[in-house]
Amino acid sequence: MVKNLLPETLEDALTIYFGQPELVPYSGGTDIMVGSSCEDKNFLFINRIPELKQIRLDNEFIRFGSACTFTEVIENDLTPTILKEACKKIAAPAIRNVGTIGGNIANGSAKADSALIFMVTNSLLRLQAHGSERILPLRDFYIGRSKTAIKQGELISEILMPKQNLDNYYYEKVGARKALSISRVSFAAILDVSDDIIRNCATAFGAVSDVILRPSEIDNMLIGKSIKEAKAIKSTYIATLDKAIVPRSGRVSIEFRKDVCMNLISDFLESNGI
């Protein structure tokens, strides 16, 4: 019964998945094991494939293997602080010890805390299938509520975070309690300023809408500007964001989500002198 479900290499996993596309990839299990129907599913276990558990650096990217657990990501020296901080806010140790960053992305949730950081950093996904692979910006991976662009037979093998200056970041998770909470609003932003010029400005809003919002076109308004120039267009920037953020109601109200987003974006700008 368990035959062929426990591949030891990525190649084997992709071959099996190609032949049995009805299998459900199992990485950490912390989402798919919730609910009673999981016991009737057939899983393709990819949680112990060494290639998927590496974190390494190349010329362009920090490359995160998709089956790295949140704990492994937190403990790795290559992980930027912003990602560590977000991963530490996920659930509790027992979940972080098995839940994976790949799973956090693959489930297509707008509440995914690590995915928020991969969004704000314009990370890419390496999607591999039997005999093929492609690189897709994470932003294009999310196509709707719990809907992703993953194709039959494809696995997320790596998350590629472009190297960039992440020293000056802003991150806030609003949950229902201090630990073990699902985001009700989450916000991450990066501001890279050198010689008084904004080199990079990126924001992302989680748990607000069907997908994580990453309004890069709006953020571009500030890029290339001096702090003073940014101040001058601040109200336009905020007003444009205000229009772009259309929350849905859920465990909390639309008004609450909207207020928190706008409060946090203002605080992010103010704390950077904008």
Binding site: G29, M33, N42, P93, A94, V98, L180
Partner: protein, 158 residues
């Protein structure tokens, strides 16, 4: 390819041939009759089913059998035979930290993992380390006190 799921459970080698999708929690409770591991929610929220897998605390309700091939698992039945348990249990006893007890096997295993990773943890680290183990009786104060006490008294054990 692997046909049989093999793992170590409380220092015993286990070969498992049942469904790979079955929950570790159910395997422990129903097949192995190890009922010290409790089920409080089956959604990974309460921590009553915590076991230690490869040195780390994990909710066994969210673990499919197929995922533990090659792993080493410790449940309260195994842990309670250790010196570390003795010390930890005494510390809990000394402040009457156990009330209804239903969360306790999981709570003690999470405590073990806190001390294993940091023999002299701060109160904040202890609280964070226990954050996945719900207790409705104590208000957590006595439990936190007990873990800190074990850390103090457990000279060299962790």
């Amino acid at each position: 390819m692997i046909d049989i799921i093999k793992f170590n459970l409380n220092d015993k080698e286990i070969s498992y041939t049942g469904s790979a999708s079955a929950r570790l929690l159910d395997f422990l409770r129903d097949e192995k009759k190890m009922t010290g591991t409790k089920c409080g929610c089956k959604e990974g929220e309460c921590g009553a089913c915590c076991v230690i897998i490869d040195g780390k605390t994990v909710n066994s309700c969210l673990v499919a059998m197929g995922s533990i091939h090659g792993a080493s698992i410790i449940t309260i039945e195994g842990y309670s035979k250790t010196e570390r348990f003795e010390t930890l249990s005494k510390a809990f006893e000394s402040v009457s930290a156990i009330q209804c007890g239903f969360c306790m096997p999981g709570m003690l295993l999470s405590s073990e993992c806190i001390l294993d990773g940091n023999p002299k943890p701060s109160e904040t680290i202890v609280r964070e380390g226990l954050s996945g183990n719900l207790c409705r009786c104590t208000g957590y104060n006595s439990i936190v006190k007990a873990v800190l006490k074990a850390s103090e008294k457990g000279g060299g054990l962790w």
